[in-house]
Symmetry: C2
Subunit: 201 residues, 2 copies
Amino acid sequence: MAYRFSPAIAKLVNALAKLPGIGQKTAQRLAFHILDESREDALALAEAIQEACRNVRLCSECCNLTEDDPCDICSSRTRDKTRICVVESPRDVAAMERIHDYQGLYHVLHGAISPMQDIGPEDIRLKELFQRLQEHEEVEEIILATNPTVEGEATALYIARLLKPAGIRTTRIAHGIPMGAALEYADEVTLARAFQNRQEV
Amino acid sequence: MAYRFSPAIAKLVNALAKLPGIGQKTAQRLAFHILDESREDALALAEAIQEACRNVRLCSECCNLTEDDPCDICSSRTRDKTRICVVESPRDVAAMERIHDYQGLYHVLHGAISPMQDIGPEDIRLKELFQRLQEHEEVEEIILATNPTVEGEATALYIARLLKPAGIRTTRIAHGIPMGAALEYADEVTLARAFQNRQEV
């Protein structure tokens, strides 16, 4: 007979193993760490999960994760309401905010169009974006900051095409050689894109 | 002003980052995954943590983690009660049980003697082991299966010295070249140990 963890431990291991990037082995290590060394921290984690799931929802304006609706960025008086930066996920908002350079608003799609995974335009928060543009005529520029993947590119193209007739300026963030990287190690697609999009100095 | 996650998200990120091997970046990824994609799984995890912390305690005999006291192994009628295998952590019990070869009992120390980290014999479950040996005179062999680290070796030596006068047979698991490994890649200490402990074929 194989050795079995007691039911409560087995349940904990399985629940931990459902987190992305955490396999059965790591889950076991975490479970024993929790039970053996840090029950207080673990109970605090359980409470944090419950509190976050209870209080965090989507901003009715930009669809970012927030506790207050509208979110801090949408309700800020100092942000530039004529620009909306469209991103795939809430993590991308955090990344954009780290550059301290962008003062406009955001729109979080929660995904990207992907025919391979059967994700169409109606499965991501695109309807909300177009509705927002109808309600807020002050918007002058849509900055497409979806990922430079097949899905992100397709999504950017899709949005750009729909917005063209509306006469709203639509821009895409630049792709090229990352700062600090060596040219010789750049992949062909990135280098080709960097070459195509070269600019006057 | 730096972008701040809303308080509930920040709390969740910090709580996740306290798990071993999970840094701030991974914690953010996990937090957004939880909130964006799998709230049900996350709430199940919170409950599993709470249930495990509530129900799992140490076996009063062997100090292994268990829901029932004494644990399944200690209360089993088929296990050989004349042998006790001493290990550092509950994970080691699971590892030993996977070999399906050992039918004796265990004793979990919950650590190892480490002067560097100021962990003395009284800080691990050694008292419980000696008390157990006094109460159960049927024990004939103590198998020392602490890790082959400085701390594990010191702990094994400490136990062996104390048990010698009591006349209980004390053995240490063998150390040598792991099965399936290539000799040329073995480190010197392991190879030296394998050479010293060579046996008649």
